[in-house]
Symmetry: C2
Amino acid sequence: MSATGLRDYLDGPHKAARDVVRDGLAEHAGLLDAGLRLPRDEYRDQVLAMLQQITADGHPGRGFPKEYGGQGDLGGFIAGFETLAFGDLSLMVKAGVQFGLFAGAILQLGTTRHHEQYLADAINGRLLGCFAMTETGHGSNVQALGTTATYDPSTQEFVIHTPDAAARKDYIGNAARHGRMAAVFAQLLVGGETHGVHCLMVPIRSEDGDPLPGVTLTDCGPKLGLNGVDNGRIVFDQVRVPRTALLDRYAQVDADGTYTSEIENPDRRFFTMLGTLVQGRVSVGGAAINASKVALTIAIRYAGRRRQFGAPGSAEEALLLDYRMHQRRLLPLLARTYALHFAQAELVAEFVRLFDSEGRTEDDEHDRRALEAQAAGTKALGTWHATEAIQMCREACGGAGYLAENRLAGLKADTDVFTTFEGDNTVLLQLVAKGLLTGYRESFGKLDPLGTARFIAAQAVEIAVEKTALRTLVERLRDVVPNRNDAADPDAGLRDDAYHCGMVRFREEHMLAGVARRLKAGIDAGIEPFEVFNRCQDHVIAAGRAHVDRVVLEAFLAGVQGAPEGETRERLKELYDLHALATIEAERAWYIEHGRLSGPRSKAVTALVNGLCAQVRPHADDLVDAFGVPGAAVDVPMVVPSQHE
Amino acid sequence: MSATGLRDYLDGPHKAARDVVRDGLAEHAGLLDAGLRLPRDEYRDQVLAMLQQITADGHPGRGFPKEYGGQGDLGGFIAGFETLAFGDLSLMVKAGVQFGLFAGAILQLGTTRHHEQYLADAINGRLLGCFAMTETGHGSNVQALGTTATYDPSTQEFVIHTPDAAARKDYIGNAARHGRMAAVFAQLLVGGETHGVHCLMVPIRSEDGDPLPGVTLTDCGPKLGLNGVDNGRIVFDQVRVPRTALLDRYAQVDADGTYTSEIENPDRRFFTMLGTLVQGRVSVGGAAINASKVALTIAIRYAGRRRQFGAPGSAEEALLLDYRMHQRRLLPLLARTYALHFAQAELVAEFVRLFDSEGRTEDDEHDRRALEAQAAGTKALGTWHATEAIQMCREACGGAGYLAENRLAGLKADTDVFTTFEGDNTVLLQLVAKGLLTGYRESFGKLDPLGTARFIAAQAVEIAVEKTALRTLVERLRDVVPNRNDAADPDAGLRDDAYHCGMVRFREEHMLAGVARRLKAGIDAGIEPFEVFNRCQDHVIAAGRAHVDRVVLEAFLAGVQGAPEGETRERLKELYDLHALATIEAERAWYIEHGRLSGPRSKAVTALVNGLCAQVRPHADDLVDAFGVPGAAVDVPMVVPSQHE
């Protein structure tokens, strides 16, 4: 097989943007062990220097409007960001903070005044900034942040203040060392009335690096990974900023202290603002998927060279990758990485469709909320996948995998936080389920159990519709998804993609309908909404996951169908089958419990997963080559010993 | 409940030894962030200083014979070692290398001459040493090591040599900086004949720290964790040591070059030698389980203080630990930690029974091999549990869990390699299954697929016996383990411990018999033994795991039954039920496939796991208090903020 053909296909429409970052990667490969060689502050400064380098190479500019020095190519910008994940992840995260979050907040939440004042400097790295949302006391429930921004009409200023320790801004990238300004999320108080969380531009450090009066900046100290990013804490003591510091796209305060917003409902207003920042989640998911590619490239190449224990009749010991258990550990993860790659590509395409580079958005609110859910789901599954895949790669490389020189250690440590930042994964899957259950109608993003449970209960009609839909679906799937009476020929149709899609769709619909029924029954029975919600929280999250599993599987299938005919498509179909059956196998207990798999057929699924691992194995090297991870990122001593000894 | 009563019960017969280490922990708590504060070599030197401190406190002495300054209390020694895992894990691993592996090899493989020459110095830390077994090319298959020890009768010396890069000793603790001598495992060549791997005492560094002539020592460099341990590489270039350097308990070479051993079969000889070193695996498993206790103590205390999102009718947000999903993530892991604790205590008791502190062993070879299997299995499950539990704790603490100051980061990084050192876990589970399949008769420890498959095939009688046993078992279990016809009352007997034990035993026996049948059928069909073995490798490993699951469950049950009556026993029974049902739930697909669970009963198991989580929740703080982890190890800022702000 030609790995190049497959690689071109995987690179897709933003190949050029990816290649620019790939080419630059050799330059910043020196960072890959900087965290081990250098004191933390020096590592941070080197990451900053490299940030300026990729800025010069045009990385951030790609994603911003032309009038501020950009190229207006949002898809290419995200593709480039994902590709940064092949290299040092501190650099990637620092770029994400500076260009995605800080400049992104200015672009999305600000108006022309702010764009003109800040955007060019933010994009070219002259104005380093923070995205100061998370507080010590509030990470997931950001609607309840404690920081206040109180309008003082006498001076036409906002007073930014941290009322207590829980309201301290925490884990803020760029805060400990480099950031000069922060986009601060705070409860807006105008004329004694609170209007919920809004974002304001607040200077925090002078040109020469000292904290400004009233601002206390401390270092979060060493972390498990990402030590090239200067995460810090910010405390504000009555810090005054001009009225124009408010990023006022969605709400304005005039000189007299009159608050106006075209979005009347404060929940809807807040989650509309948050929704414009979806790019962060889109980007983190893609980065995590690409970090998995690096780890799998290393571990699969190693397993194709490393021998241990004898095969009879052979002078040499057997290759690790020829052992069934080793195939079982690595190859389904390879297949899932491909699946997630295609799901991510679909997500980025939809993101680009809805957000053009001018910072304006389409009016279709439903589509935007569906996009937010898709981003949340892909982020959750992509980042959990990275944690699992990199861990498995580390173990599959034994002691060598534990040495920093072989990169898996750093990948593991750096990516670990992805499962909890830009939204905790369990919370994100709740969000996904909630969106599906409410048809994206209730204030999307708001996660309080009370509201969700009551909303569901109120939507009896809606649920009835869903039930009907489910009944139709079950009938429709009866032929596609055989039930227990398949014992005569348990293998029949196991590689049929309609079967796979039918199975995952059945699971999704069945679980969602089950959650809806349970929520409604609980409310109807007069049980406390929190208790109603809590009793099926595991079910809610599993339903969210089932939905994303289905979306990912369908994206992979579309990827197979769109691939160039011939060997590329054949290889992808094999991998797709492996992914589909491994997905069904992982949930086979549920399918059996719900009459969708017989015992014999379930065993046939397992046998076929084994068989597909053996079929994929001879192509494993080509399949990781097609990821196109540059040599600088994967030519580690355990894989390429001759270069290092 | 009184956490103290439960804690005393958990501490068991070696409470005094545990308390000595607990008391010392405050002293070396300073190490906990040394890796973050100090350059690597300084961290290593501080770990060494602390090693001398615990030596002065009597830790290593406890485990060695009285005539060399010890106390002859092997059980207390291991309990103390496990307790070191509450503190800095580099110190624990360095102690393991020095006292467990290096001094242990001298004690177990040497004779009086070696004991008198080295043991006192090794125990009191004057002679720092390495355990030089693993090579770059051979970690799991240590019978195939490449280093040679060739006898030269003309000078009555052995010549130690590294023939190629793959034979380089690798990842060797104490080698990069502190070790002055190494217990080197090498192929013994005498009179042109090879006698397999033996161990020799080889000086590697002078008193002032320089490598000795012919010895090249290099640093493995930074690792994911355990950076306070100086792992290094050793290359020997024709290094000469006297004939007496051979640790000659099991094989001797006389001055003329005549090789003698009371164990004729070279495989049996090698694996007998290896078997005496089982203490390493016993200790690592226990350490991993204790590291999980630290992480769970931190994460459960945090979840009992941290609030997020509102519960209706309450002014405060809800505690994380009141969310079902959070309970689901943490409490079954807490239960499994208890289960493994009791399994480890049983293992240590059996170890002490078979190995007394004089270094002599009982003659019962079968028991010793069964012990080796038990150690391998407990090590595999205990270390995988640590990886899973600590990861879950990290995620459950969000961004705060990622900060080094909250300890989960270090625990994660330091324990990660436990799954692959002292035997790769997948290889160890193969060993467990093999021992069961062969009744510990074939050379235990040897893992080549050829031998295993042929042996099984040859044991037709044996397998027939097993089949008969299985048939009897199935009949016996018919009443205990209800089959699909339980739909009328799916909850019946779910908390009956005979039911749990019947289920896990059925699974174990069924899987082992299945593996035996498949191996025999493959060999009988004339398929290559490697291929025969490889086709069911996943099945072999799953069978090994099923066995250990059963052993662990039964150990927990015995622990419940032996507990003081009243609340302590009630609490333990609740946790035991949670563990038992979570274990069955995790394998419910298999049970359904094999007709041992109906769909409704499977759902009832899941519902009961949820219910038991809610029952355990109010006692969660007491249950982690009972682990007795000293405050110095768990009073981190996110749990005890007032101390730090």
